[in-house]
């Protein structure tokens, strides 16, 4: 059987024509509006309370819509946006260093390796400055200079200092700002908040997204919730790899269920592997911890020149060390972009030169910086990161080099959306990491926070009005056949999972799936490897449905049941990721195909054949998906080959 079928191209992205600087303004002007009295009659469901979902729910409620918000955590304040460390980009040009909306737009399109949509990225750059204003007004305690004005720093992929930050906890502070705005609306009665609720199905009635089926994770109660529009802000799917820097609960279920109901899934193979994470310490490992990219400013990356060199790092003389990033990329050295640094680490470990107990690690050594700047200076810059490293590994990085290894961090792919952030199902909008829209094949540092808040505060609240202007839509309830069916599907699935009562735990399957994905659909992919992975995933999925053991029942809090449902969806997504990676016969951004590299191992993009978004349509379980291509046109930023040598 074919792995996929090619269908019609994506006809219309709804992006306005004309000069790129005026497109967003024109779209807002041409969009229909909803008058304040009518807003009160309409309900919007928002799934997820991270930067995108939290800010969208608060803003829609401020505008006068009735909002129902859902999150799986015990409070909307805990969404994983909270763990973002570095910062948020904005084209304020406070440094007078040549920054502008156009430069942020340019850097983001180039950083995405020319696989994103110009119109969307330009809009993102335009609203970036408003985000900083909004967050300061909310009381977000950004870092400041002695004069009381905001401080900024530089980040990968840019030559200007446009990154605003709050120590190493920028995501936390921005999220708490959005959370507090949301809590204000909850207190005013404008938002109905449902924490510890998980969306398990989308309800589509007469071709429109009209509601969701949710499970109350405390009581086990299944209910159908209805609205005039549904917004998914449920984050990325990095946990398909089992080990990632995502929170343990992050999952693909909300977007995958929508995909199965007709929403196209775009570029699923685009995943970002972050080069500086703490290596796996053993089979018990449950998640990976990121060490900020900023460490590469002062740390030097190396491995021994010889294979299987078991000496302690300090016993290896200077001339027997390979500072491989400095050697291969003399002009960027240790500061090459994330995808390049990650792959180089994999290559030296594949050669048998990795370090640490598992041999899957490289040194990040601060001894030169400590002797040059003094221990005090290093402490001031990185003290909290060094402490965190010591807490996890038990080693003191002031004395011995850190050991680091790449880990899955972010997924650029997601549900396909048009310029209005609407999916292929009318009334279903997708924002933040859950959509595919702005980062192309590689996301730049400090751009995820920017996109989440841009979508939630400024883009969606404007574009959704154009859709809701046709509402309120005919009232629907749980007696509608489509609602009954969606609910029954959820209940059947739960009963099926509980009834298997096999001999393996959910985690054991998830871990094995993650190993397949990491091996064949991770930092380097090949035709043969991906085909093997697809076979292995299918076989393991069959095993899962025969042998998984989910203890307990569906009546109350059952964490094994929650995990089982999520892992079942990861199996289906994993297969599509591999098919997407297999069909994209080029190397671009986070997607590196072994067959498509230059003689010296650099990525080779193929603009002639692959300058498009791959939007996948679900057909039926076990049947091939249909590929729809959205051609990418570059009118303002002309594609060039990236080089960091």
């Amino acid at each position: 059987m074919e792995l996929y079928i090619e269908g019609d191209p994506v006809a219309d992205t709804k992006a306005p024509e004309g000069p790129i600087e005026t497109r967003w303004e024109r779209r807002r002007f041409e969009a229909k509006l909803v008058n304040p009295a009518n807003r009160r009659k309409m309900t919007v469901i928002v799934v997820g309370t991270g930067l995108a979902g939290g800010s969208a729910a608060a803003t829609l409620a401020e505008q006068g819509y009735r909002v129902k918000s859902y999150c799986y955590q015990d409070s909307p304040r805990r969404a994983h946006s909270i763990a973002a460390q570095g910062g948020i980009n904005a084209a304020k040009n406070y440094r007078n260093d040549g920054d502008s909306v156009h430069r942020l737009f340019y850097d983001t399109v180039k950083g995405g390796d020319f696989r994103s949509r110009e119109s969307n990225v330009h809009r993102l750059a335009e609203v970036s400055a408003n985000i900083i204003d909004q967050c300061v007004a909310q009381g977000v305690p950004f870092a400041r200079e002695y004069g009381g004005l905001l401080d900024t720093r530089s980040f990968g992929g840019a030559q200007v200092q446009r990154t605003f930050y709050a120590r190493g906890q920028t995501g936390q502070q921005l999220l708490l700002g959005a959370y507090q705005a949301l809590e204000r609306q909850i207190g005013l009665g404008n938002v109905e908040m449902n924490a510890r609720h998980e969306m398990l199905e989308l309800i589509v009635i007469d071709g429109k997204a009209r509601g969701i089926v949710v499970r109350d994770m405390v009581t086990g109660e299944i209910s159908s919730e209805f609205a005039d529009a549904v917004v998914l802000a449920s984050g990325g799917y990095g946990n398909v790899f089992y080990l990632s820097t995502n929170a343990k609960g992050c999952n693909v279920t909300a977007t995958w269920r929508a995909h199965r109901k007709g929403a196209y899934f775009a570029n699923p193979c685009y995943t970002q592997i972050h080069p500086t994470c703490i290596p796996v310490s053993g089979d018990h490992q449950s998640k990976l911890t990121l060490m900020s990219e900023s460490l590469r400013n002062d740390g030097r990356v190396w491995v021994p020149k010889a294979k299987d060199d078991d000496r302690a790092p300090r016993d290896i003389p200077e001339d027997e060390r390979d500072y491989y990033l400095e050697r291969i990329y003399p002009s960027f050295g240790n500061l090459v972009p994330r995808d390049i640094a990650s792959r180089a680490a994999k290559n030296v470990c594949d050669e048998g030169r990795g370090v640490g107990p598992t041999k899957l690690g490289v040194y990040l050594d601060f001894s030169d910086a400590i002797s040059r700047l003094g221990r005090k200076a290093i402490e001031a810059k990185y003290g909290n990161l060094f402490e965190m490293y010591e807490r996890i590994t038990g080693e003191d990085p002031y004395e011995v080099p850190m050991r680091i290894y790449p880990a899955v961090h972010y997924t650029m792919g997601g549900l396909w959306v048009d310029y209005d952030l609407q999916s292929t199902i009318p009334g279903l909008f997708v924002i933040g990491e859950a959509n595919f829209s702005d980062h192309g094949a590689n996301r730049l540092g400090a751009s995820a926070l920017m996109q989440g808040l841009a979508d939630g505060y400024f883009v969606l609240p404007n574009t959704i009005a154009n859709y809701l202007a046709a509402g309120p839509f005919e009232a629907v309830d749980g007696t509608h056949p489509a609602a009954i069916e969606a609910r029954r599907d959820v209940e059947d699935r739960i009963q099926r999972l509980l009834a298997i009562n096999g001999d393996r735990t959910v985690d054991s399957f998830h871990r094995e799936l993650g190993q397949i994905m990491w091996e064949h659909c991770g930092m380097e992919r090949s035709d043969a490897g991906l085909r093997k992975a697809i076979d292995e995933i299918r076989a393991l999925r069959d095993q899962f449905w025969q042998r998984v053991r989910v203890p307990g029942d569906g009546e109350g809090l059952n964490q094994s049941l929650e995990k089982a449902g999520r892992v079942a969806d990861f199996f289906e997504l994993a297969e599509l990721m591999c098919i997407d990676a297999l069909h994209r016969e080029e190397s671009c951004g986070g997607h590196f195909r072994a067959e498509h590299q230059s003689a010296d191992g650099e990525a080779e993009r193929d603009d002639e054949h692959f300058s498009y978004v791959a939007a996948w349509e679900f057909t039926a379980t076990g049947q091939p998906s249909v590929l729809h291509k959205e051609d990418l046109n570059f009118e303002y930023v002309h594609p060039t080959q990236r080089s960091y040598k």
């Binding site: 300061v136 400041r144 004069g147 936390q172 959370y179 909850i186 929170a247 735990t505 094994s560």
Partner: protein, 254 residues
């Protein structure tokens, strides 16, 4: 190493609950505390028993979802560390470890080690914000903030809302949590217009939720994984006193 765990098991809110003893062997010192519980749970599932329910999410000390009383200490023996970042090298072979949920009237147990901390959200909803609807914000540089105030505001804003302060407090008070938010917002110029209504609203919500009063025992700040200082409570009390004298009849301008 081999350990004896004594874990609080409670099937639901109406169950009385009890401590149950489990043996775990071959624990690696490189495991996190929660990974050690994962290993126990995998075994319980295969043995046909119910795994131990506990809350956790980011496992990197920032989301605030995890919270365990470990040998009577909120988040365990290591200062400035959440349970998810606590590693087994802090323990030794043969140790017996007691693991219990947060215990406070305002945090009812849902199951095993999982409690309901929804009362924290109610405190924030009662005033822990600055009213600034999207789109209405002035240019970010229109109001400078002295660096010292911005830094101090950040230090209070670092609270992760885990609830350790409540669990450690002999009165079950959430005053450190409340004071951290009051302090952050009252240090910033943007927070001034609502300064007095905020502190009254939040303290009222705190009391209504069933948290106890603060008697300056100071246990809270010792267990706080983010080191929120006790002085925030002093600031809250000062703001509260000022607010109650100024806004007695809620007349504008008084």
């Amino acid at each position: 190493m081999n350990l004896t765990l004594r874990i609080w098991r409670q099937s639901g809110p109406s169950d009385q609950g009890r401590m149950v003893t489990y043996q775990v062997d071959d624990v690696s010192p490189d495991m996190s505390f929660l990974e050690m519980l994962d290993v126990l749970n995998e075994r319980l599932i295969l043995d046909g028993e119910e795994p131990v329910a506990f809350d956790h999410d980011c496992r990197e000390g920032i989301c605030g979802m995890c919270g365990l009383m470990i040998n009577g200490n909120a988040h365990g023996p290591q200062r400035g560390t959440t349970a998810c970042q606590l590693h087994m090298r802090q323990f030794k072979d043969g140790d017996t470890i007691d693991i219990e949920p947060w215990r406070a009237r305002a945090f009812p147990v849902i199951k095993d080690l999982v409690v309901n901390r929804g009362a924290f959200d109610k405190i924030i909803a009662a005033g822990g914000y600055i009213t600034a609807p999207t789109g209405s914000a002035p240019e970010a540089h229109s109001v400078p903030v002295a660096k010292a105030n911005a830094d101090a505001a950040f230090s209070s804003a670092a609270c992760i809302g885990c609830g350790a302060c409540v669990a450690a407090c002999p009165n079950g008070s959430a005053m450190l949590f409340t004071a951290a938010k009051v302090t952050q917002l009252s240090l910033l110029p943007q927070g001034q217009p609502e300064r007095h209504t905020r502190v009254i609203g939040m303290v009222d919500a705190h009391d209504e939720a069933g948290f106890g009063g603060c008697t300056n025992a100071g246990e809270c700040t010792v267990v706080c994984p983010k080191g929120i200082p006790l002085s925030t409570i002093g600031r809250l009390n000062r703001d509260y006193l000022t607010a109650t004298t100024k806004s007695g009849d809620n007349t504008p301008g008084t």
